[in-house]
Symmetry: C2
Subunit: 223 residues, 2 copies
């Protein structure tokens, strides 16, 4: 189809040039360009991405491992998470995030702390009308925390888990007042990590994500 009139999703998918099929498809799913439950036909995606089926298959296979697409009786579809699964994912994430800050409190270097303080300082200057900037700032902070834990296995697991709750709504930080509250909690976590107080850091982290989970559940209940 020359002019490419109808396909709503082809626009931004065509746009990104240097990214791999995996990254492009992943971003398309995470951004909601593909609705949950939408069928993913290899030949169609190959057409849109302007590559052959082979790299598309590879990308889909990775996305299946990421838990972003699932295999139906026939073909793959964008994975639809149930409320129960979201709950499971959050509970798992709470466990892992708490563990990682406990490690961070024990193992953090001066550099880790510097980086965390830097990200914390930028928190209040983020434009609250720009959701993607908010998401990015939050992501950067938590990634810095993961790195400060100095456990590659833990941070790998967390980066994969984090993918699965980036789906709609992309963040729970849009709730009124939540941004500032989250910033305060982050500061408390960094303080505890600086004091090498693992228990306290883990406690606050738990609370922080419990709150986030509660907001998401509320959002899911009232769409």
């Amino acid at each position: 189809m020359g002019a490419g009139g109808n396909a709503t999703s082809s626009e931004s998918l065509r746009g990104r040039v240097k990214a791999s099929p995996y990254e492009r498809l992943r971003d398309a799913i995470l951004s909601g360009e593909f609705e949950p439950g939408a069928p993913l036909v290899e030949t169609a995606l190959a057409d849109i991405l302007q590559v052959s089926r082979t790299p598309v298959r590879e990308a889909l296979s990775k996305l299946e491992y990421d838990g972003l697409v699932s295999r139906e009786r026939r073909g793959l579809v964008v994975r639809q998470r149930t409320a129960d699964e979201i709950l499971d994912i959050y509970q798992t994430r709470i466990v892992l995030e708490s563990a990682v800050v406990r490690h961070a409190a024990e193992r953090r270097t001066a550099n880790d702390l510097l980086l965390l303080r830097g990200l914390l300082a930028r928190w209040d200057s983020v434009d609250l009308s720009d959701r993607s900037a908010m998401r990015e700032a939050n992501q950067a902070f938590h990634e810095a925390l993961w790195r400060a834990g100095h456990n590659v296995c833990l941070s790998d697991l967390l980066s994969r888990l984090a993918l699965q709750v980036h789906r709609f709504p992309p963040t729970t930080l849009g709730e009124p007042g939540r941004w500032a509250e989250a910033g305060a909690e982050h500061a408390q976590i960094v303080d505890a990590v600086e004091r090498r107080d693992g228990d306290e850091a883990a406690r606050i982290t738990s609370q922080h994500f419990e709150e986030s989970m509660a907001i998401r559940l509320r959002l899911m209940a009232t769409p």
Copy 2:
């Protein structure tokens, strides 16, 4: 099997018929048929497995995600874990296993308990000279524990993590006296789960895996 004379690894790889390339390669790596660091050339594996490169590539891609193979500058090799990485994996596993039994204590059904008791009862009748039977019994018990936690996300993560420490030695349960000790700890865990005492179950589980980690580190230090 006709000509396949030299290849030491082709024997059991050719043997299994119905298994997918992924399963066959995974088992070959886990069983140590492929040495850590050994190069995995697609065409060679395709030859051995009697399939084309396409399914082999797919299998290797999954194995890379499992962390069992890693990508060098040129091609893939069986992943060699450093002592630090093993430590990271164990620490992560301790966190997750503790969390799962805490959940199990809260959510276990009567059926879960029945299954666990059944596996526990079989523990002492396992042939201690049969390493693979030991590994299987242990695996079955822990999988039952994962299921009793009723958190799909947690059990998925754990089943993948468990893959990564199945490498040599396949189990730490071969140490003198460790089998009985582990059985006793398992029984304590199940008791705590039955009493719905999550804290105690988590505590014992932590200890259990700390011990396992200590044995493995000792084994790694003196090969």
